[in-house]
Symmetry: C2
Subunit: 251 residues, 2 copies
């Protein structure tokens, strides 16, 4: 399994991904899921991937080749991030189809999902989630983040906290807590945790972090978060006994 | 969908359940999922249910009939909560099997899961989760809670906070936050939220709450929690720039 987050906010982007890959619970490996393209100077584009590792590797390889041979459509030729997402979706579909038999069935699940994020030219930064079916969605002002992989454990904290005007550094901490919650609750998501903060119009990918399991900052963040939660519960309004009543047996 | 929690702690039990049932997203109804038995004075037993509504209703009906006709095994005859869980599992299997064809297949999914919780005689209070397959598990000192239904959204806050020695009132607030997070993130889980606090050796079910969507306490709890989270993120340790480095393009 995998867990990746992309927050697309007024100040720019926060991308976070785990590094655990498993083929069954007894075959666990470490693979980074955050990949950056070497591109023309007018753009910065980063991919996050989830799903079948063979498919994601084949897709990445194809995108790299298309770029190197300057194919008609490639990551340097597209003018919009949404075009990049469509192109990625088509390549992904193509790679998945290679594993279907004549009846359109596959002996395994070759599906993969991606997040493609970055900034091209004068367009604002953005992020798109590309489904296994090849279509894609982007963020909205009410939901300024995308998730792929094991999304449920880490969603409430993003739902409650991330707004368009959240400062990038706070959003980064929120995404790290979301990731930490998921790692704690699901053994198929694991460190190292990669994080990239991209500031709007900077066209620089120089705020990249790779946190190993015992990285002192992550340990500190987790402890601080848990002690804060403990205080938070103590401060929540006490139950009001006027609402209490007997539970009437119905069986 | 459904979400139910049972926390089994030193001071007693906290049980929380939602009330939304849906057959497809366009057929949503309100059904309570917390049911108490009218029993002999030496025990208090409460059920939480998730899954196919026809199955859970048939199981509850059977348990009630067995008790009324004083069957050989019934909710008043068992000496241990684990025996009650086994009995419930057998009845559940039997009801599910009625919907299988001769090849053991069903045109729909009749499965259901239950939590049975309470206290019998001199035994300590406890809780068991009964799987659709009829077997069951209980809590442990390291994992003093059980969940059924849509469990993932609300799990991290329980994982981080609930310990055996958590006071019941704090545990109740924690379970309500877990439920509120799930309601917020998943439209198939919804109010009213039912909660029962059972204090060890009390043999009383008189701390029962039923919170409608706009119940002032729940509104207050949600607001208080969100503002506390906001402060918590502001207080988390700032990212340490010495860990930042450029993300090297690999594509």
């Amino acid at each position: 399994m995998t867990y990746c987050i992309a927050a697309s906010l007024n100040e720019g982007l926060v991308l976070v991904s785990d590094s655990r890959t498993n083929a069954g619970i007894d075959n666990v490996s470490t693979y980074g899921k955050m990949h950056a393209f070497e591109t023309n100077a007018d753009r910065k584009i980063v991919l996050l991937s989830a799903g079948n590792l063979a498919t994601t590797q084949a897709v990445l390889e194809q995108l790299k080749r298309d770029k190197l041979k300057d194919a008609k459509i490639n990551i340097n030729s597209v003018d919009y991030l949404s075009d990049a997402a469509n192109y990625l979706g088509q390549v992904s579909l193509e790679k998945q189809k290679q594993h279907l038999d004549t009846e359109g069935q596959s002996a395994f699940n070759p599906s993969a999902t991606f997040i493609i994020a970055g900034q091209i030219g004068n367009e604002p930064p953005g992020a798109y989630m590309v489904y296994a079916e090849g279509n894609s969605i982007t963020t909205s002002p009410h939901t300024p983040f995308l998730q792929i992989g094991e999304i449920k454990y880490g969603k409430p904290v993003l739902d409650r906290f991330l707004k368009l005007d959240t400062p990038l550094d706070e959003a980064a901490r929120c995404c790290l807590v979301s990731m930490d919650s998921t790692i704690r609750s699901n053994a198929s998501v694991g460190p190292p945790v990669e994080m990239l903060i991209y500031r709007k119009d900077s066209f620089r990918l120089d705020e990249y972090y790779c946190f190993e399991a015992e990285n002192p900052y992550m340990v500190n963040l987790r402890k601080s978060w848990e002690s804060t939660l403990r205080e938070a519960f103590a401060k929540l309004p006490p139950l009001m006994s006027q609402y209490a009543k007997p539970l009437e047996p119905d069986l």
